[in-house]
Amino acid sequence: MDMNVKKKLGLKERYHLMTRDLAWDATYQKEEEIYPQLAYEGIKIHDWDKWEDPFRLTVDAYWKYQAEKERKLYAIIDAFAQNNGHLTVTDARYVNALKLWLNGITPLEYEAHKGYARLGREFKGVGASVACQMQSIDELRHAQTQIHAMSNYNRFYNGLDDWHHKADRMWYYSVPKSFFEDALSAGPFEFITAISFSFEYVLTNLLFVPFVSGAAYNGDMAAMTFGFSAQSDESRHMTLGLEVIKFMLEQDPQNVPIVQGWIDKWCWRGVRLLTLVGMMQDYMLPKRVMSWKEAWEIYFEGNGMALFNDLARYGIKVPECVEQVRKEKEHITHQAWLTFNSANFLTNFHTWIPSKEELDWLDAKYPDTFPKYYRPRFEYFQKLEDEGKPFFTAGLPRVCQLCQIPVFYTEPDDPTQLAYEEGTYMGEKFQFCSTFCHKIFDNEPEKFVQSWIPPHQIFQGNCFPEGTNPTVEGFDPIRNVAAYYDIEWGRENGPFVGSEDQKNFAKWRDQTTKN
């Protein structure tokens, strides 16, 4: 019998046979009809075969490694639930960080799954397609494991039970929602630049580290374990981000300015979105990991800038906005928390004024700004609270019509001046929080005029329950907006002090420690 000596295949060649060799050039249908989304953004790809696989994972290996992680993760989630693991957190204020996560971030994981599924289909190169498909299924994993990790918290704490309804309606969740829908509604090349590069590569640590380390530092075994379990998924995502940017830039020099425009846009939109994460990191973690300022300095000013040095040879420049972000890092988290704390009647998480020790920590982390601009305000609001007259904002905020964040940002060089910017389009006025948001709007006005801006929608009467009559005597618009949001008034909104969460946590802690 013939014993053929088979050629030994290298890893790269074997993986090519398992992936890119599967495709063929269609002849019965036009290529533009099979791949209709590839041309309209102006990106030129001459040779999809030049794609370098960022990782080589066959499907059977994927199943094997991922299943192993799932087994471990769910064993911990089960144990956590069985043993009342939620009571090991530092204190019940921490759970409010999870509320922000489940309502604000988890829906985005699902949207990422959808976005990458689209790219898996619409990208012609098999290498790129398969990498996107793996990310798509990974993101579905993240959405579902986050839901499952937080499911037990939902049974005991408020504000976690209604994320589907709230994420599509509430005034601050429109920030992450519009961010991701901007990417989803864009073409495939912009989507992958926005999410794989700007978010999953440049900014990923600024989302992941605060939340996951925050969980670890605050005794949250469920969320922490989710995070560690997702780490190897995230490294694949980072390598995809790096490969895709190099690939586009190397395929044609005319891609460079288009990609630069996207990098500029998405770095800015990403940083604006991260205001909420920075706020969480500085204010909502009883045991803090590091300040937003520190995180930005390590992960962007350090690591991120090194990346841009690498890309300089293609003609890519550091986004202009980094100078403003550098100045703002001292301010934005405090501005955000002050805003939420005075609007907590209309949130589905609790807020509180930092304790003296916490104010001291903020002084130490932000010595140039906190003692001068922000501590006095918190102390003033604490005084009002102690006198039984807590301060709440009346009326609705002016909101940036790009990033949809209330205009609480100040001028980069003058923290005593709110940053107002206005533009006109088709005879109408539009309002922004910054020159950068304004520029993004001006680049695609037909897209951004479509935004569903919560305060505008409220003023238009679109945020009341069906059948509401706002003209009746004594009409309370805020209560009716809360009803549209389906807020459990007095239960999931309002201050942490005196909340059901606070009372229950103390009661249960006693129940499990005292006789």
Binding site: L22, Q29, K114, L140, I147, D161, W163, E181, P188, N504
Partner: protein, 332 residues
């Protein structure tokens, strides 16, 4: 004798998420339920997609099928990511052992030479059919409305890529790189394969999500898989050459039976909702099954020789039986 372990049982405030409770009542929900129902955003979208400006990011209008609630298309296998990967990992483990068993004993060398040649001739071009199936299920995953359907299509697309890779591995075990090359050449130029390639390329431009579901997952796979893996691999080939090839393709055989349950459940639920849905699904099933069968005639001859016509008739009959259970009219 029971060991009665004590734990501290706190009284929870609620059993599950509000949207789950609305659907299933105030009780503890399953992991599948919590991971699936109402995960997809549904309201107040900000921007129309530049890639489809007449519709929304998530839009029921990407198919002619109309459903009051797209979550009626739940998966009877109740696959969410965790259960899906763990199920597949168990199968992968068994297949790995089969490949090891075969390779360690050099069983690929004791295969009947004629069967080996027919197997390579039949199975290598199917790598490309599987890639087409991956692309199509990706399309469905991307554009289907509601997580119940979209999620299951994601898993199906992964399964097809896995199948393409198992076939590649089989080709390298029974032949070598040249066998794969020959298979691709056949796919691209042999007369016997052109009707099927034409079929696949037509599915690649079919953009109605449910029509594509019928074309790919019901019509083509419903005929192709039983034809190849039951009639040929486990039938005629096994008689001549034993179970070696079947061991290498056991995933495909098992997968088809499992996936058919999901496909049938989806179609049954969609058809049951309205006479209009039933009529549409029947029309699509009939048209695509007719095309698929015609495309498979030359392929069945490669795989089965004189047994081809009888085998094709058998699998067509079986598809008819499925259609009856689903509640659609299948004429082809």
């Amino acid at each position: 004798m029971q060991v009665d372990l004590q734990t501290i049982a706190l009284k929870p405030l609620r059993n599950t998420f509000k949207h789950i409770e609305k659907r299933f009542g105030d009780k503890v929900a399953s992991r599948y339920q919590e991971a699936t129902y109402d995960l997809q955003p549904t309201d107040n979208f900000h921007y129309r997609p530049t890639w489809d400006p007449t519709r929304e990011i998530h839009d029921v209008g990407r198919t002619k099928i109309v459903l009051k609630d797209w979550y009626v298309l739940k998966d009877p296998r109740q696959f969410y990511y965790g259960t899906y990967t763990q199920a597949r990992a168990r199968q992968q483990d068994a297949i790995e052992k089969s490949f090891d068993f075969i390779e360690e004993r050099g069983l690929e060398n004791s295969l009947n030479a004629e069967v080996k040649a027919i197997a390579l001739k039949t199975l290598m071009p199917l790598r490309h059919v599987a890639w087409g199936a991956n692309m199509n299920n990706n399309m469905m995953a991307a554009y289907a409305y509601g997580t119940a359907l979209n999620q299951a299509c994601t898993y199906a697309s992964f399964d097809h890529l896995g199948i393409a890779q198992y076939l590649t591995r089989l080709g390298l075990a029974l032949g070598d790189v040249d066998s794969l090359k020959a298979g691709k050449a056949s796919w691209e130029t042999d007369a016997d394969w052109q009707p099927l390639r034409q079929f696949v390329e037509e599915t690649l431009i079919t953009r109605d999500v449910m029509e594509l579901f019928v074309a790919q997952n019901f019509a083509l796979d419903g005929l192709l898989y039983p034809l190849v893996y039951k009639e040929a691999v486990d039938g005629v080939w096994a008689v001549k050459s034993g179970p070696t090839i079947g061991m290498m393709t056991v995933f495909m055989a098992d997968w088809q039976a499992e996936t058919a349950k999901w496909v049938d459940a989806v179609l049954k639920a969609a058809a049951a909702e309205s006479p209009e849905n039933k009529a549409l699904l029947s029309e699509w099933a009939s048209a695509w099954a007719q095309k698929a069968k015609a495309a498979l005639v030359p392929v069945s001859k490669i795989a089965l020789g004189v047994e081809a016509d009888a085998a094709l008739a058998d699998v067509s009959f079986a598809l008819q039986e499925r259609a009856k259970k689903i509640g659609i009219e299948l004429n082809f």
